[in-house]
């Protein structure tokens, strides 16, 4: 639009020059983030090259991580990341769904609604280091007490503890997406269900949730993306054991917590590069999951 106005000419050369300078500046603003992203990927690849060469494809399938023998394999950490994140996701989705149904269908206005909304926003604002600290001093003793009660080794720290903590950390995020998706359900559809004699819960189950299903699924993916990269809180309560186990009560390690713990201790170039390779892997996994989530959500928003 503006292009045609300018190209009619008759304007001062200075104005035209500042015009094109401004456009160049905007163009720079447009590409800077993409360039940054490509640069991040390139730096990760280049910096992990010694490890990519030394570790080869066995990096993804091997289970040993031993700096002394220079054997670096990512599987235990990929596994640890996935199991903590998925478990957290299950817990968070149940809680978030209840919250978003409550805030999206039952209490949309009023004191209680704004109270709940403020609570969720506050939860989202709490730094992860504070979550970790609270987890260490409150959740770990609780889990340890439970472990003693049911007779397993009472570590207190471990996969289960991290998952519970992670669940509460991603909860505000999932809940706000859930509420947004439920708000996209057309009012006539809901009113139609109600006028046919459905109770409110039947309307939620049979109209709202099925309609918002794909959007909620997208939200689950985005929350997963969050959980995968969460570092500090998990590092503080997971116990940092480089083992691969399905026992939820035992300590474990995630990709992010491994990097946080060992990066400043990495003495040999291959060790350091292997940790950067883990970061590269984490970057790729979380980016793919995030993009899937975004695509699903955009389709939902576009359809509604």
């Amino acid at each position: 639009m503006t292009q045609s106005i300018e190209s009619k000419g008759g304007r001062l050369p200075i104005a035209r020059a500042s015009d094109s300078a401004f456009r160049a500046l905007l163009f720079f603003g447009g590409i800077v983030v993409s360039v940054l992203l490509v640069a991040i990927l390139l730096s990760l690849v280049l910096s992990s090259r010694p490890a990519l060469v030394a570790n080869g494809f066995r990096f993804l399938t091997g289970t040993e991580w031993d700096p002394v023998t220079n054997s670096f394999h990512a599987l235990p950490f990929v596994f640890g990341t996935l199991i903590t994140s998925l478990l957290a996701l299950v817990i968070a989705t149940v809680l978030a769904l209840a919250l978003s149904i409550l805030m999206g269908e039952y209490f949309r206005t009023g004191v209680f609604a704004s109270l709940m909304r403020t609570a969720v926003e506050l939860l989202a604002g709490i730094p992860s280091i504070v979550y970790g600290f609270i987890g260490l001093f409150f959740l770990v003793p609780v889990v340890r007490a439970v472990e003693i009660a049911i007779g397993v080794t009472p570590f207190g720290v471990g996969i289960l503890t991290s998952s519970i903590l992670l669940a509460f950390m991603i909860l505000p995020y999932s809940a706000s997406i859930g509420r947004e998706m439920l708000s996209l359900v057309p009012t006539d559809l809901k009113e139609a269900a109600l006028s046919l004699g459905a109770t409110r819960s039947e309307m939620v189950w049979k109209v709202s949730l099925p309609f918002a299903r794909s959007g909620i699924l997208g939200g689950v993916f985005l929350s997963l993306g969050r959980a995968l990269g969460e570092t500090m809180a998990v590092t503080m309560v997971i116990g940092n054991a480089n083992t691969m186990t399905l026992n939820l009560f035992s300590p474990g390690n995630t990709m992010a917590s491994l990097i946080a713990n060992e990066f400043s201790e990495a003495t040999t170039p291959v060790y350091l590069a292997s940790l950067i390779e883990i970061a590269l892997l984490l970057f790729i996994i979380s980016t793919v999951i995030n993009i899937i989530g975004k695509v699903v959500i955009n389709r939902m928003v576009g359809a509604a």
Partner: protein
């Protein structure tokens, strides 16, 4: 819309209907109960931090440097100053870039490059902060040969950038076409239209984005682990390692000494107050100073 299912006082005579209504009530009760579990941690965290943290806050705590192991007392003044400096460095880097790319997105977000940019911004938003930390290490720490507040600022800037961009874009998109057309019709050049008409009209969104970005960056720990690194001294030189609140909490919280853990509670209190105040400020700016058309 809050449809009232059955008017109060009306009794359903049909047992099947009564069952459905009971299920409806139970469903709502269940949702309410689960939601309470969901917000319980907020109450817990606030209680814990206020009870444990506020009691260790005093003038000395806010103004003194940490004491060596074994000596009582000591404060976190260096961490408070460090966090402020880190945020300033990060803001100086990220705000111009974020606002610029936000303007670009609102001006030509539907073009091919616009779509690529939006995807990049959203992807950058999702990059784990520990990965950002590693990138800042590779870009700044490695060439310099030592840890520095500058590298921490670079890491935090990468975290703030997408937040600022998206908030700027979102607000600028709300500004009506007529405003822009009026300016252009008066013969105002395109750059002046954007800078003097559109941007000021969307100032609240730009400020909100900046505040949100700062609030997010202030609490980040992972990207600072191998960049600003931390320091027990009062450091004002951004080319040197510098303490920060989140990292101080991490260091003290994971230590086995109760005296240090007390310091961590105090630092958590300060950090939490900082972040919550920033969030409240954001809400205030959006509600009081909202662009309305």
């Amino acid at each position: 819309m809050r449809p009232q299912m059955t008017p109060r006082g009306v009794r359903a005579s049909d047992p099947a209907l009564r069952g459905r209504l009971r299920a409806d009530k139970a469903f709502m009760g269940g949702m309410l109960a689960i939601s309470m579990i969901a917000v319980l941690p907020l109450v817990l965290i606030l209680l814990f931090i206020i009870i444990r943290g506020a009691s260790s806050i005093n003038w000395q705590f806010l103004t003194e440097l940490p004491k060596p192991m074994g000596e009582a007392g000591g404060g976190i003044s260096n961490a408070i100053v460090g966090t402020v400096i880190l945020i300033i460095v990060a803001s100086v880097i990220s705000m111009p870039l974020g606002i610029l790319s936000g303007i670009f997105l609102s001006e030509s977000g539907k073009s091919g490059l616009g779509r690529v940019t939006r995807l990049s911004v959203e992807t950058l938003m999702g990059v784990p902060s520990i990965v950002i930390g590693i990138v800042a290490y590779v870009w700044v720490v490695r060439p310099m040969g030592h840890f520095s507040a500058l590298s921490g600022g670079v890491a935090l800037a990468m975290i703030m950038l997408p937040v600022i961009t998206l908030s700027t874009e979102e607000t600028l998109l709300l500004i009506p076409m007529s405003l822009r057309e009026a300016a252009l019709a008066l013969g105002v050049s395109y750059p002046r239209t954007v800078l003097k008409v559109i941007l000021p009209a969307g100032a609240s969104g730009v400020i909100t984005g900046a505040l949100l970005g700062v609030a997010r960056a202030a609490g980040e720990t992972a990207p600072l682990l191998f960049t600003s690194f931390g320091s027990p001294y009062m450091v004002l030189d951004i080319l040197k390692p510098m303490a920060s609140l989140p990292q101080t909490i991490y260091f003290y919280a994971t230590s086995p000494y109760p005296a240090w853990q007390t310091l961590a509670w105090g630092a958590s209190f300060v950090l939490l107050v900082l972040v919550l105040v920033l969030n409240l400020l954001t809400k205030l700016v959006t509600s009081r100073w909202k662009t309305q058309f």
